[in-house]
Amino acid sequence: MAQVRVLVGTRKGAFIITSDGSRRAWKIDGPHFPGWEVMHVKGSPVNPDRLYASAWTEWHGQVVQRSNDGGKSWETVGNEFAYQGEAGTHQWYDGTPHPWDFKRVWHFEPSWEDPDTVFAGVEDAAIFKSTDGGVTWSELPGLRTHSTGQTWAPGAGGMCLHTILIDPTNPSRMFVAISAAGVFRSDDGGATWEVATHGLESDFLPDPKAAVGHCVHRIAMHPSRPETLFMQKHWHVCRSDDAGRHWTKVSGNLPSDFGFPIAVHAHEPETIYVVPIQSDHHHFPADAKLRVYRSRTGGDEWEALTAGLPQEHCYVNVLREAMAVDSLDSCGIYFGTTGGQVYASADDGDTWMTIAEHLPPVVAVEVQTLE
């Protein structure tokens, strides 16, 4: 029987929550790396027992943990992320030049083809690659040294490269998202990059339609339609149907189009999920109701999913990495909150159950479907 493994990164460690394919009874294992902030845990699509975890503290910096048995045991691998050549500067919050400085790994993206090949998105924004299972890391410097790099500036959470998408049909094509620079696309495996933000508008920018400076919170792709991308931006939910060359707003009837995560249904490429947040000043759910909004039309027309979710006095947030789907039929949707709850739906989002409720603030959620 199929199994589901939910990989949860929190402010104080990682948790692995498992169930059989019925998704009715859940077992929580952890914390792994207690006391460390776990920014992300993700498994290889080639070998699901190969996991990569990013653990970090302000005191001790970055540690990379690797598992070969689905998280039962872990080993520490390489944590040296050195920018290639002269690191240079980007813009600081006050507009002055600021040296590029590695802080932590926000995201691991294992390759579609090789469990030992994995990409890391880091703060200050850059992309690194390992081909030896995380033992050594090399920067792909074409991104950081992009002609616009000196103008990139951090969002409130730091200048983080938080999303890496790899086209499963053409692994040379990659997309990354950076707060607050925007989206970049590579068609040569990460050697060179071009801006992929045309059509985005951000009112906080001097030029709302500028090429860079957009605070993109998350982008998502369905593996069967790699030309189509969905975006939750600082404000606005958007989509692109030409691999990021042009974006259109599809916020439609959402109660707020501010939010952090966005996810795509495993079997319906036009079914997407967001969690509306009141505003950039109020990082809690719109109207204090924790509602997932689903669109079955790829945006514009949205319906609230509320069954099993708190509908009053709810002031948690759902962070950008904290929503994921399984690939069972029907599709399971999962998200974690800054209040330490992890919610799961086994029916496309129609109803929800709490599968963990007293964890540290949840930073990241990934899901593995195991046959």
Partner: protein, 100 residues
């Protein structure tokens, strides 16, 4: 060689799988640099967690204490305090206190 007693903060004890205090054999004259080189060689998972990669500078929120003194800002290529070399005092790696 001198036998130096070292205490690590809790996060690093767990990471390295060591107890409250460990002993390291450090070539004479034992300095903080040499001590930390030996520590990182014996426990490679600690690389980058006390000193930064590349520059090998002490991380911002780390202090070195020995014999009741904060020696964090003293040169790291000079002999450790006599009490540490004699085994009477512990070289303590300490993380900044935070709470709230």
């Amino acid at each position: 060689m001198s036998t130096i007693r070292v205490a690590l903060p809790a996060h690093l004890r767990a990471l390295a799988g060591v107890g409250a205090e460990i002993s390291l054999e450090v070539p004479d004259p034992p300095t903080a640099d040499r001590l930390l080189d030996i520590l990182e060689a014996d426990h490679p998972m600690l690389r980058g967690t006390i000193r930064e990669h590349g520059t090998r500078r002490r991380r911002a929120y780390i202090r070195y204490l020995a014999g009741g003194r904060d020696i964090s800002f003293e040169p790291t290529d000079v002999p450790l305090p006599a009490g540490v070399i004699a085994g009477e005092d512990v070289f303590r790696v300490v993380g900044a206190i935070s709470g709230g």
